[in-house]
Every structure is written in C-alpha cells, then in structure tokens.
C-alpha cells in the first residue's frame, strides 16, 4: 500500500487515484456488500434475473472485501509508476529529498518534451477541475490535488536543477505555463542552486558571473541579428494584410536572393577577382565601343569582358602563389552546383519531414477550421474578407461533399472528358510553344549567319527572348482559363493541375533552348560566350516581362476591376504563378553559371528590384487570395519543384557540357582541351611529378575514374534505400495498429463511463446531478487521454497481469489467454469472476452472496464481448501470455495506465453501488463531483455510511 502511494505521486493521472486512495484508507473496515441487491440491476438490464434471485441474501464478511482489495492493490501498484519516468530516472529517490542529483541519462530535448507533457497534463487538469463545480464537494479532493501538484512541481524543479544552465533556461522557457508560474519555478530552481553553490569558493561565483555575461551577450547578438534581418518589417506588414500564403512568395524571393548573393560571392571571389587582380588591362578590341544597347542584348562590348566564359584565360596566374585558372574555373563551378544541390536537398528534406510525413489527406476539413485562422492578419478589412472567404469555402466544401455522392455516371464521364480535353490542349500548347521556339532559333541562326554583326543585328537577337517571355506570360493565362471550366473535387488538385501545366510549359521551352545551344550553337567559335549572351538576354527580358506583367496583370486589372467592370473585382495575388516565375528565373541563372559566371550579379539586381516592385504592386492593386492553400505545404512544393525538375535539369545541362562537349578552341579557360572535365586529368598528370601527392592520383585513378567504385556505391545506396523503405512500411503498420488501439481505448472509456452514468441514473437521488455528471463524463476521457494514449498498451498488460495472477491463485481456472487488447478487458473480468467463484467455493457460507457479484461480472464480460469481439481480434496467444508472465513476475516494472485506474474505479463503484441502492433515503446526498471518478468514490462513501448506520 505504501509503495502504491509513493508511486502514485509520480503518476500524471494521480488525482484520479488520489480520491480513491483517501477513500480506501477509510474503508478498509467497511463492508461493501452489507446491503441487499436491488432487483433493477442497472448495468445488466437484460440479465437481471440472477440478481433477483439472490437479492437479500446474507451480507459478506468485511474481511473478504478486504482480501479482494488486497489482491487488487498489486496491479494498482504496477500501474502507479509510469514507465516513462522510470526510463528517465532509473534511480529516482523519494520526492522529499530536493537535493537529489540523479544524473540525467537522457537528452535535454527529450527531457523538456517530457516535462512539458507532464505540465500540460497538469495545467489542463487544473483548468478543468477548479473553475467549475461546487467547492463543497471538492473540498476533500482538492487537498489531494494540490498535494499532487506540489509534488509534481518539486519533481520538475529537481529535474531542472539537474540540467545545465543553458538547457535549464530553455526548458523553463518551453513550459506551457503563465509567466508567474515560470517565474516561480525559476526562482525555486535558482534558490536551490545558490544554496548549493554557497559551499563552493568564489570560483563558482566567478564562473556563474561569466556565464551570465555570456548569456547576456548571446541575447544581444540574437536581437542584433533580428534587427539586421532583411525586410523583416515589410514581411510583417504584408503578412498582416494578406496572410501567410502571400508572405511565402516574398520569403521565397528572399531565399533566392540569398542564394544568388552566395553564388555571386563564390564566382566573383574565386574566378573573376584573381583574374582582375592579375591582369587589369581590358582585352576589348579598339573598334568596339559601349553603345547602350548592350545592357539589353549582352552582346558587343560585354562580349569581351569577364561577364562571359570567353573573357577568361587558361593561363596560370603567377602572383604570390600560382593560380591555375582552368582548375579554379572548373572547381568553382562544380563546387557551387554541388553546394546548391545540397542546400536544396536539405531544405526540401526538412520541409518534407515537417509537412508531409504527418499529412493525412482526409483531415482537410479539421485543418480548415482548427488551424486556418491566420493570427498574423491584423488589418480590419483583411479580417472581414478572410471571414467571408472562409465561410464561402466551408459552405463549398460541404456542398461538394454532398454533391460528390450524387454524381451520376454521365456527369462523371463528362467531367473526365473535360479534364482529358484540357490536359491534351494544355500539353499541346506547351509542345507547340517548344516547336515554334525551335524553328525561331533556326531562323535566327540562318539570319545571323548571313549578315555581319551590326546594331540592327544586335537588336534582332532580342527576338527569341522576347517570344519566350511572351509565351511565359500569355500561355499561363490560357491555363487559368481552362481551369475555370474544369470541376475539380478539391481545391488542392486544382492548384496542382495548374502548377503541373505551367511547369510542363517552362520545361519544354527550356529543353528546346538547351537542345539548340548544345547541338547547333556548340559548333561555332567561342560558342560558350554566345550561349552566355543568350542567357543574359533571357534573364533581362524575363525581368522586363515580370515588370510588365505586374503592371498589366495587376495594376490594369485593378483599374478595370474598380472603375470599368466592378464585376471582375480587384485582382488576387496569384502566389503559385508568381513563384513559378521566380523558379524559372532562377533556372536560367543556374544554366548560365557555366557560360556567364557573373550572371548571379544580374540576378541579385533583378530580385532586389522585383521585391519592392511586387510589394508595391501587391499593396496597391491586389486583394488577399480568396482560397489560401496550406502555406507551409505550398512552400514545400515550391522548393521541391525548384529542385526537380529545374535544378536537376540545369545541373544535367551543365554536366553534359562539361563532360561531352568540346570547349571552343580559341577562347575561354578550356581552349585546346577535348572536354572540360579533362582538365582534371591534366592536373593529375602534373601532380604525379610532385612527390608526396601519389595518393591523390591514386584516388583519381581508382575511385573517380573507376566504374566498379560507382557500381558499389550505387549498390550500397540501393540496399540502404530498400532497408529504409522496409522500415517505413513497418512504421506505417505500427501507426495503423496504434490508431486502432486508440480507438479501442476510446471505446473502453466511453463504455465504462456509460456504466457509471447508468448507475447514477438508476439511483433516485442522483437525478439532480445528472446534468453535472454528464458534463464531467464528457471531460473525463480527455483529461486522461494524453497519458492514456502513450500508455495504452500498458493497460492491456496490466489487465493481463492481473488475470494471470488470479489464474495462478487457483489452478483449476481455465481461462483462455489468446486475446488482444479489446478482449483483454473481458478476459480480466472473466478471470476475476472465476477467482471469486473459487474463493466463494472455498468459503461455503458466503458462496451464495458472492454469486451475485460473480454473475454481475460475467454479465459485464458478456456485454463487452458482444461489443468488442470481432473475428480479427484473436491473435496468437504466445506473445500475450509470455508478456503476462513477465509482467506478473516483475510487477514494479509494469507500465502505468490511467485506464487501469478507471477500471478499478469502475469495479469499486459497481461493488459499492449495488448494496447502496437498497436504502430509500440516504442521509448523505453526494454533492456533484468534479469528475465521474469522484462520483464513483462518493457513491462508495455513501455506501459505507449506510453500512455503518445499519449496525
């Protein structure tokens, strides 16, 4: 019993058992079966004849009730020490030693999660218990709860003290409590700490001071970083007016800008700067002058500068150290591409983990309500608009759900036809765009081959970029038009369809251009510079079109919408289309990185201007998007798109160029080589002559150039992927099982609560409390479930353990043990019944009286069996029974369960309610309890009172 009490203090659900605990200590001498059975057995209405027959039979000996309870206290003990706490503190000392320093054997993060979990449970309970319910009834329970809270607080403080200062601060900060409570905890922790450190020398004080000043320094650094963050205020402003989904566009833009700043620094620092430092004289022929058109075309004057591949030499620069331009160029570009890839993969991976692993397509509606409110919106108009949008959305989704069920076959066929048609049309449009660009490039090639370079010729080179950008601007508009005619069952599908079509279009266009450059342009002299110029033109014209697009697309349609055709309304800011434009622009920069290393500089300028342009255009012209998707998921999709196909495409294009195409012979760093990659071979040949660098050559020959190495690497990767895939499958199965278990536990809980309610309903003077009771019975499971969920199988095991114990007590028992979780409840009850039967048989005089509860148990078991047993629930007996034996032999290590306690409460309630029903007017009307369990407990107390009166 004592061990139970101690253990119970640690139990998150302790207050449930606490009430019982008080009650139990008082009632050890009481006789719960003192009264006769009432005929109207409340919880077995169909089987009450047995109860009838036995009504009025002799009272049970008090000792028997005790012995039974003694048997119970054992599993109760099992339940009372939660397993998680055991895991964390293997050597926990009693709670009244505040200076206990059990070394933490866990990660701080796990710890803080654990603590917050507990505190969450506590605070929720406190919230749910104290504010309502009348104080008189709770008076006795409240003390216990307060005790428990204090104890939990003590434990928390002890755990906190064991942490390092940094973790401690973080852990306190992460507690979901009010400021006052946090302050209280902190002051207590500090008090204990200072008490302890008083024994040390001034060294401890010094180190404390140093760490304090370091911490303060850290705070000021973090606040300085926050003020330095680019465009923080603008983002907040946009967020407050348009919501998070629009902010995503700007976050993405900023992210790309940072990417480009990084790549500019890398390229400029490792390729351009050494060349400029070494050789300041420009290599521009005297007859070329700056005319101004170059800014648009990138040709002419720029052709001879370091802007393009052709401006770099293959010389080895002799300065302070020897600097091989060939190697620098090759390694800078390849390192940049690899770094970009890694950054993208990591970003994408973490976002996927956060947003998609837990995603469950069915829970869209709940999400819509529970988390759709964007607390960042503070603008009055935006709030009103958002409310409207949300209402429309909710109504639509409701009617859609109803509609989908009513759709006839012909309607479905028609929808399918429309989808097919629009997909064909949009793909055809994309292919047509690609083909027309292909012929346009061919035509342009012939035209430039025929004539000399002149200003007009320069201007003509703008034709292709112009057409490409025009297509990029106009065709998506057609796509959105198609989208209006299609009926998508969900809004997300609609957005995905639109995004996929746009991506296809951009891919076709870029693929055709790349094909043209690789196969046609690659035969010219100094072709890399020509490709670089073409990309430069594309980037610049794309920028112009973006500006025009936001002017015409947003400003003009705003004018039309407000002045001419109010029906159209103010345009929405289309996040998906705008982000795709950004992705396209970034792809151009990636492809161009090899041909024009300074292209990121242009890109930086472009994005910087675009940010302000879009911001102004958004605030002046647009309204928040009517249908806001899940912002975080959209962000994931955008980054995934940026990676695949766009980054992968650009990477393969650059890799193909470096591996397979022969660089031009008269300009650029790789002149005279058969391919760009062979620069590594040349380097290795040089290295061979230097002693001490044989290992590098060996690696080159045996790792980089050997097929077997790649073969093995890919084999290993495939094996690892397979293993992870299997693990994932296993986890999925586990999740399914756990979900099933939660549902079963929920059923158990509601069943038990129904029982309790029925008991009270059947009792005449409880009528007045019905309402109260109902309310609490509703809240009850929720108080329990955070812990009940984590320990849900603990309940089953505890029950099985009990069953096994009772089986061992009487060998004659033949209880089948082949059960899984839902059946366990029943089995345990049957086992108990049998045990009681046996005991009753041993004690002859009591046998008839005992038959009552025994049959009641049986009936309860039967009911539950009906409810829960389905063919799938029978499982192999081996695992279950072996578990049981282990549990039975090692009671303290068994896991706790709140359910377990509910079970016991129910048993007791049933035991006690039955005798108590007989008296007509109980002297001690039980006040409304704060929970069903308290009710049960009160009922029991009443039974005792009546029993005492009977004497």
């Amino acid at each position: 019993m004592a061990s139970y009490r101690n253990g119970g203090l640690f139990n998150p659900a302790y207050h449930d058992s606490e009430t019982l605990e008080i009650d139990r200590s008082k009632s050890l001498h009481a006789n719960p079966y003192a009264r006769a059975e009432r005929p109207d057995e409340p919880y077995s209405t169909g089987h009450s004849s047995g109860g009838d027959g036995l009504a009025g039979r002799g009272p049970l000996g008090g000792w028997h009730g005790e012995s039974r309870r003694g048997g119970e206290s054992f599993p109760m003990d099992i339940a009372s020490t939660p397993s998680w706490q055991r895991d964390i503190h293997p050597s926990r000392s009693p709670p009244d030693s505040p200076y206990d320093r059990s070394p933490p054997v866990h990660l701080p993060s796990a710890m803080s999660g654990n603590m917050t979990m507990r505190w969450r449970g506590m605070t929720m309970r406190r919230m749910s218990m104290f504010p309502n319910g009348d104080p008189a009834n709770e008076a006795f329970a409240e003390d216990a709860i307060r005790n428990e809270l204090q104890n939990e607080e003590q434990n928390l403080i002890k755990e906190l003290i064991a942490l390092s200062t940094r973790d401690q601060i973080r852990a306190i900060r992460d507690l979901p409590m009010s400021f006052d409570e946090k302050k209280h905890i902190r002051s207590q922790v500090l008090a204990v700490k200072s008490k302890r450190s008083r024994h040390f020398t001034c060294f401890a004080e010094c180190s404390e001071n140093v760490s304090l000043s370091f911490r303060r320094f850290g705070y000021s650094v973090s606040s300085a970083r926050q003020t330095l963050q680019l465009w923080q205020g603008i983002m907040k402003e946009i967020g407050s007016k348009f919501g998070t989904s629009v902010v995503i566009y700007f976050v993405f833009l900023k992210w790309l800008l940072m990417f480009n700043i990084f790549s500019f620094l890398v390229n400029f620092g490792f390729i351009t700067l050494p060349l400029l430092v070494h050789d300041t004289s420009p290599k521009i022929p005297p007859n070329v002058s700056f005319s101004g058109l170059e800014i648009l075309t990138g040709a002419g004057y720029f052709h001879y500068t370091v802007m393009y591949y052709g401006g770099y030499s293959n010389a080895t620069l002799h300065g302070l150290v020897e600097y091989d331009m060939q190697l620098a160029y090759f390694f800078t570009i390849s390192a940049y591409m690899v770094l970009c890839g890694i950054a993208l993969i990591f970003n994408m991976g973490s976002l996927f983990m956060k947003n998609y692993v837990l995603a469950d397509p069915t829970s869209n509606g709940a999400w819509q309500l529970l988390c759709s409110w964007d607390f960042s919106i503070t603008n009055e108009r935006a709030v009103r608009q958002r409310k409207n949008n949300l209402r429309v959305q909710l109504k639509e989704s409701l009617s859609e759900k109803a509609q989908r069920e009513r759709l006839t076959l012909s309607q479905q066929l028609r929808h399918f036809g429309v989808h097919l048609g629009s997909w064909l049309l949009s793909t055809g449009l994309a292919v047509g765009c690609g083909a027309s660009i292909f012929y346009l490039c061919k035509y342009e090639q012939q035209a430039t081959a025929a004539a000399d370079w002149s200003l007009l010729q320069d201007a003509e080179t703008l034709l292709v970029p112009f057409v490409v950008s025009l297509m990029n601007l106009v065709v998506p508009l057609f796509y959105s038009l198609f989208n209006k005619f299609e009926h998508y069952s969900s809004q997300r599908r609609q957005i995905y369809a639109l995004v996929v079509r746009n991506v296809l279009l951009k891919m076709f266009i870029l693929a055709v251009l790349c094909y043209h450059w690789m196969n046609v342009v690659a035969k010219f002299s100094c072709w890399e510079s020509i490709v670089g110029q073409a990309l430069y033109r594309l980037v610049i014209v794309d920028f112009l079109f973006l500006m025009l697009g936001s002017f015409f697309g947003e400003f003009l349609s705003n004018l039309i919408g407000t002045r001419l055709l109010p029906r159209l309304g103010v345009p929405e800011f289309d996040v998906a289309r705008n982000v795709l434009e950004l992705i396209y622009a970034q792809t151009l920069a990636w492809i161009g990185i090899y041909f024009s290393p300074l292209l990121p500089a242009i890109q930086i300028l472009k994005f910087f201007i675009l940010f302000y342009l879009k911001k102004v255009s958004l605030i002046q012209n647009c309204q928040p998007p009517r249908r806001s998707g899940r912002a975080a998921q959209m962000q994931t999709i955008f980054i995934a798109l940026l990676f695949f196909p766009f980054f992968v495409g650009a990477l393969s294009m650059v890799a193909y160029t470096a591996w397979s195409l022969s660089p031009s012979e008269h300009c650029g760093p790789f002149q005279g080589l058969s391919s760009t990659f062979s620069v590594v071979g040349v380097w290795m040949e040089d290295l061979e002559k230097i002693p001490g660098s044989q290992w590098a050559v060996w690696i080159y020959l045996n790792v980089i150039r050997s097929e077997i190495f790649y073969y093995f690497i890919s084999l290993i990767i495939v094996v690892i992927i397979y293993i992870f895939w299997q693990v994932t499958q296993g986890r999925k199965q586990l999740i399914r099982l756990l979900k099933q278990r939660i549902v079963n536990d929920g059923k158990d809980k509601s069943f038990l609560l129904d029982k309790l309610q029925n008991l009270q309903k059947s009792h005449p003077d409880r009528k007045s409390q019905q309402k109260n009771q109902k309310r609490h019975s509703k809240q009850r499971p929720d108080d329990l479930s955070p812990t009940a969920r984590s320990n849900s199988n603990a309940m089953v095991q505890a029950l099985l353990a009990r069953q096994r114990l009772e089986q061992e007590e009487q060998t004659s028992s033949t209880v089948p043990s082949d059960i899984s979780s839902p059946g366990a409840l029943t089995q345990a009850m049957l086992a108990r019944q049998r045990a009681e039967d046996q005991e009753a048989g041993a004690h002859r005089p009591l046998s008839r009286a005992l038959a009552v509860p025994a049959q009641a148990w049986q009936r309860a078991g039967g009911q539950e069996r009906d409810e829960y047993f389905s063919p799938g629930f029978y499982e192999s007996p081996v695992g279950a029974s072996s578990m049981v034996t282990r549990r039975a032999e090692d009671p303290p290590s068994s896991a706790s369960s709140v359910m377990m306690q509910v079970m016991q409460a129910r048993q007791r309630a049933e035991d006690e309610e039955r005798p108590q029903r007989a008296p007509a007017a109980p002297q001690n009307p039980a006040p409304a309890g704060s929970s069903a369990l308290i009710q049960a407990m009160l009922a029991r107390q009443q039974a005792q009172n009546e029993y005492d009166d009977g004497y």
């Binding site: 400021f179 503070t378 549902v743 955070p786």
Partner: protein, 187 residues
C-alpha cells in the same frame, strides 16, 4: 528608450529574456506599448493591471475575432475579467512570437478555442469557433444543418479516440502539419 530601460532594470530585463522568447528590444518595445495603455496616474507599471477593453484597443488585437478569448486565457487575474499585467502581456507576446515552440503555441491556441474552459473541444466549443471564424451576424452564420455536418466532419477527422470531443493531443496532432500555424505580429 533610455528611461524605459532604466525603469525595467537590468536583472529584471534579463529575467524576462530568460523566461520569454523575446529579445531585449522587443521587451522594451512591449514595455513602452504597455505603459502607453496605462493612464497617467498609474505610475508603477509592473504591478498594474490593464483592463481588457484597453488591451483590446491595440491595433494588433482590435480586429482579431478571438481577442477576448486571448485576454481571458492569458489573464492571471482572479476575477477572470481578462485584465492583463505586464507579465501577462509578455506572455501574450511570447505565445504569438515567431520563435515560440509549437508546444506553447498549440497549448495556448487550444485554450483560446476551448470556450467553456473544460479542457476539451466539444461540439459547443466547435460551434462557437466556427461562428467566430465566419462572423456571428445572422446572414453570415452557417445554417444549423451545415453546422451540424461541419462539426461531425471535424470530429470524424480529428477525434482519434472517438469520444466525441477533440482533446489537446488530438488538436496537436491536427496542427502538427501546419507549422505556420499561430502567429500574430505585434511589431
């Protein structure tokens, strides 16, 4: 700025920094905003309670449909009138700041949505929530049938243990897919 810094004191400031997710500037700014809410004669800012009406005049909360709930949940006042002390106010800011953990955000969001304070979101809470989100006037309200269907949809999707209510962990399960979940920008 200088005067407010001296009023707050270095130790207090560092304590606030330790206990909230706010930086020094943010705390000072919050202090400034908070002392502006007090009337002239209430000099000693830290112990003073600002009644809910005055808190709600902050432009950041003025149009939020949950403004009253936010005050009630964060108020430590005994009479549950939604009045806030400076520390409650800091609590409010830290709960809605970008750097607060999901745990804290979901905890407070759950409390805010739990209109009857019984520790679980039941049908009544959900109905009030929907009304808050869509507007409470008669023409904007959903019909009773729509409401019933909507709530049953929500429960079907998020009530994992099928007990007819959404509890904290179920709630956290739902919002765990939405990292951009609760934010309010007071700056």
């Amino acid at each position: 700025m200088g005067t407010t810094a001296s009023q707050l004191g270095k130790d207090l400031l560092s304590e606030y920094q330790e206990l909230t997710f706010l930086t020094k500037q943010e705390i000072l700014l919050a202090y400034k905003r908070f002392s502006e809410l007090l009337s002239k004669d209430e000099k000693y800012v830290l112990n003073e309670r600002v009644p809910m009406d005055r808190i709600l005049t902050l432009p950041e909360l003025k149009s939020n449909p949950f403004r009253k709930r936010i005050c009630y949940v964060l108020s430590t006042s005994d009479s549950t009138n939604g009045s806030l002390t400076f520390e409650d106010f800091l609590d409010l800011l830290t709960a809605f700041s970008d750097s607060a953990t999901m745990e804290i955000k979901s905890h407070y969001a759950f409390c805010i949505f739990d209109f009857d304070d019984d520790g679980t979101l039941d049908c009544g809470d959900l109905e009030k929530l929907v009304n808050c989100l869509t507007g409470e006037t008669d023409e904007t309200k959903l019909t009773a049938e729509e409401m019933r269907q909507l709530i049953s949809n929500i429960l079907e999707e998020s009530d994992i243990d099928k007990d007819g209510t959404v509890n904290l962990s179920e709630f956290q399960h739902v919002i765990s897919r939405s990292p951009d979940f609760v934010r309010v920008h007071v700056y």
